[in-house]
């Protein structure tokens, strides 16, 4: 009979109708007849709750926990992001990454918004993220929320294909010390120290410092690629409860990095391009303050202000940027069924960019403003069962003027184990400073003597254009989440993205000479479409053995755009992770990933990156000493090296090397 029950429960799941509550029912029956004394003697577990919790958002949300990051052995934020379904994370070289969701990836990918504790990591210079500049003490990450699909209504422009929210722990949960150190062949050496303490009755704080030195990778012929780098970063955070209603957070970070890279710099005279062994320098810092007032269980407001500075000095670009940002948000319930949230924002960003052999910049310095506001109402149409969320962002920026980003979302919870959601949203990607004020010498081909005759050198310039404007997206999404099978949760999302006015490059002139100069201009002529599916499954097979699998399918329809002008992300990605703890003090983790071929746009045209499969393994041991953990992690173990991406211009194809590192972490 039990077996039959089991079978039938799976059958009902397949029909998507009813839920199996067998274990729950059996367990409840057992414990309900016990006395209080007996109840307090029952051993409890909470592992299945983590696997069974369903997200109540009407969006494709995936949460990466601190534990996930630790057990994956991720040493960088982009590596941690590989844990999420639907994210396209590719390492360009030791110090550069391309990260995007649902297509159009690139080192200068411009459709993803990244926030670290509410601070925008996105740069106006190219409407993307310098991933090598973004870091936190990985042990202090509370979680990373990954939202695929448009998040413009709440988060603003450029949250076109996704939002990444990196949230660090409250200082009350990082009390005491942490020392972490280790090293290996690729991760040559790293160390981190954090100390948290109580500063006053209701005030806690922490300080940290971290640093690392990472080894260079290789070109496909095995030659070293000169991309080694090192970085040191430190920071602090203080959280204070001022009274029963008010909380204040102040935090800040400072970093500096020495980045080595081999870059190909084009030039108009002989030999038309040169390979520069560049020693780049980057530094920056930020200071953020957040004040939260909780007026009632259903009403609160937040005021946040931050200042962010970064400076980058390399052979391709020399720039410095100062950003000041103010945000206000108010949330309140109205008339039982409405949950409103509205906000106002202002940002001022002042930069200073020097012209280089690659970029001609005019004006050299520019200060730009961004005004924004948003309102959203979550309406409980049927209490605890059906919600309708409608809202819009309204913003004005100095590049494209007024922008509107509305969205409408449904969430239906017919049963505690099932969630269905659907959404339609509009998002925009506003032009960057680079697109509006830079002229780029993308490439100069060398002269060639062929059988057909002599081919003179050709220099390709891309000029900014006043006509270049905002890119638009209309996105449709459908989602389903369930925990109908015991200890399994499944999250499925389908999407269709209809883009309009996407950046294109149109040739506008040709000047004969030596080299021949081809001038092009930025235009908005492409209307690509993408569609696909993302599936994430968690199976808590046993209390001490968990499986995480995800699969993403993405089709890119360039709709007439030439193949060599838009990057096409991998069609399929697959990730399978096993987290095994056979004893309380031993962890054994394995992580297998497969990525389909993708095409990237280099200065000489489209390049296809072959598919790859890779495996990471980690073993950890916690000896009897409290808070101590020793671990060994192997990354990219299946091959000596593999290529994941090729930057749009200036760098040579660099393969990611296999690496092994050991780590000691002690919390005291």
């Amino acid at each position: 009979m039990p077996r039959l029950n089991h079978f039938s429960s799976r059958f009902t799941f397949l029909l998507g109708l009813l839920a199996s509550t067998q274990t729950f029912a059996a367990d409840s029956e057992k414990v309900l007849n016990l006395s209080v004394e007996e109840l307090l003697n029952v051993k409890v577990t909470s592992v299945s709750k983590k696997a069974q919790a369903l997200n109540d958002a009407a969006a494709a949300v995936f949460v990466i926990s601190n534990e996930d990051i630790k057990r994956a052995g991720a040493t960088t934020i982009p590596d941690a992001l590989r844990l999420a379904p639907g994210l396209d994370v590719a390492k360009i070289d030791a110090n550069k990454w391309a990260v995007s969701a649902r297509g159009f990836n690139g080192r200068f990918a411009n459709k993803l918004l990244v926030l670290i504790d509410g601070r925008n990591a996105y740069t106006r210079t190219f409407a993307g993220v310098y991933w090598e500049a973004q870091d936190v003490l990985m042990e202090d990450i509370d979680r990373i929320e990954v939202i695929r699909g448009p998040g413009g209504t709440l988060w603003g422009a450029n949250a076109v294909n996704g939002v990444i929210n990196i949230i660090t722990k409250h200082t009350s949960s990082t009390q005491g010390g942490l020392v972490a150190a280790g090293g290996g062949d690729q991760e040559q050496g790293f160390g981190g120290f954090r100390y948290g303490g109580k500063l006053a009755e209701d005030t806690t704080g922490r300080v940290y410092v971290k640093g690392f030195k990472r080894e260079q990778n290789s070109y496909s012929n095995g030659q070293p690629s000169g991309d080694q780098w090192d970085k040191v970063q430190g920071g602090f955070r203080v959280d204070s409860r001022l009274n029963a209603q008010d909380e204040l957070t102040v935090q800040g970070d400072l970093y500096q990095a020495n980045i080595n890279q081999n870059v190909v710099i084009p030039q108009l005279s002989q030999p038309f391009s040169s390979l520069v062994n560049d020693k780049a320098f980057a530094n920056g810092g930020n200071l953020l303050s957040k004040w939260q007032r909780t007026l009632s269980p259903t009403s609160s407001y937040t005021l946040q202000a931050y200042y962010d500075y970064y400076n980058r000095d390399d052979a391709v670009i020399k720039e410095a940027r100062n950003t000041l940002d103010l945000d206000f948000q108010h949330r309140f319930a109205l008339a039982d069924r409405h949950d409103f949230i509205w906000g106002l924002g202002y940002q001022y960003s002042l930069d200073n960019v020097l012209s280089s052999p690659v970029f001609q910049v005019d004006p050299k310095s520019r200060g730009t403003q961004l005004f924004s506001s948003f309102i959203q109402d979550e309406i409980a149409v049927i209490r605890d069962t059906l919600w309708f969320t409608i809202g819009s962002k309204f913003e004005h920026n100095d590049f494209s003027g007024f922008e509107l980003q509305p969205s409408a979302r449904f969430l239906w919870a017919p049963h505690s184990q099932h969630r269905f959601w659907a959404s339609v949203s509009r998002a925009v990607r506003t032009p960057s400073r680079g697109e509006e004020n830079f002229t780029t010498l993308v490439n100069v081909t060398r002269p060639q003597q062929t059988q057909a005759g002599f081919i003179p050198p050709v220099a390709a310039f891309v000029n900014n254009s006043p006509a270049f404007s905002t890119e638009h997206l209309l996105a449709y999404e459908l989602g389903y989440r369930t925990t109908a099978i015991d200890s399994v949760s499944l999250d499925l999302t389908l999407f269709y993205n209809n883009y309009d006015s996407v950046r294109s490059v149109s040739q506008v002139g040709l000047t004969p000479g030596f080299p021949i100069v081809v001038n092009s201009e930025l235009t908005n002529e492409y209307s690509p479409k993408t569609y696909g599916a993302e599936v994430a499954v968690v199976w808590q097979m046993l209390d001490w053995w968990r499986w995480d699998a995800n699969y993403s399918y993405l089709r890119t329809d360039l709709s007439g755009a030439p193949f060599n002008q838009l990057a096409v992300s991998p069609q399929q990605r697959f990730s399978l992770r096993s987290s095994l703890s056979p004893w309380r003090n031993i962890d054994f983790d394995a992580w297998l990933r497969y990525v389909d071929p993708n095409s990237t746009i280099s200065s000489t045209g489209a390049v296809t990156i072959p598919a790859y499969t890779t495996l990471d393994l980690r073993v950890a041991w916690r000896p009897e000493v409290k808070g101590l953990e020793l671990s060994v992690t192997g990354q990219n173990l299946l091959e000596d090296r593999h290529l994941e991406y090729l930057q749009e211009s200036f760098t040579l194809p660099t393969a990611v090397n296999r690496g092994v590192y050991g780590k000691i972490a002690w919390e005291f």
């Binding site: 309900l32 209080v36 051993k43 919790a53 259903t298």
Partner: protein
Amino acid sequence: MRFLRAKRRFGLCLVIGLAIAVDVIAVEPVDEEILLAAITHKFAEFTTWPESVDKQTQLNLCVVGDNPVQQAFASINGAVVEGKTLKLINMSRLTNLEICQILFIDELKPSVLLQVVEQIKDLPVLTMGKGQAFLDGGGMVGFEKKDDKIQMHVDLRPVEKARLKISSLLLKVANVRGGP
């Protein structure tokens, strides 16, 4: 012989009895939420509400928590305690807190928790939550997981303020604050 058989039978009963006990208590750990739901059931049984509530035929059990928590508490929905039917209410939004006789809070930001407690402090609502921090925030009963078992903490001051009485049957196995 007969004595021996009886002894054997007794032994067999003991083994089966032990096996059942072991099955429940030692071998298979139970989901924390299910156990908390069962303990909440005991509180519904051994708490006395003021007269206004006492006349009702229904006890509203409001639960703030995600789907695994709601699911665990569904096991005691509809149970009859002291002539009253327990009715599970999913508090997906923190509105209408005054309709609750029991309010179980799985997880809330400390600042929001303070406001919840503030809003119902004079009402006859038995508040239950996680850890001693729940009591620090003004809650009545806090459950803490220690060595894979559940410990109970009770603060009698808010209990008395809300005109509730918790039976000594429960208090004798709890860590009590604010007692006489």
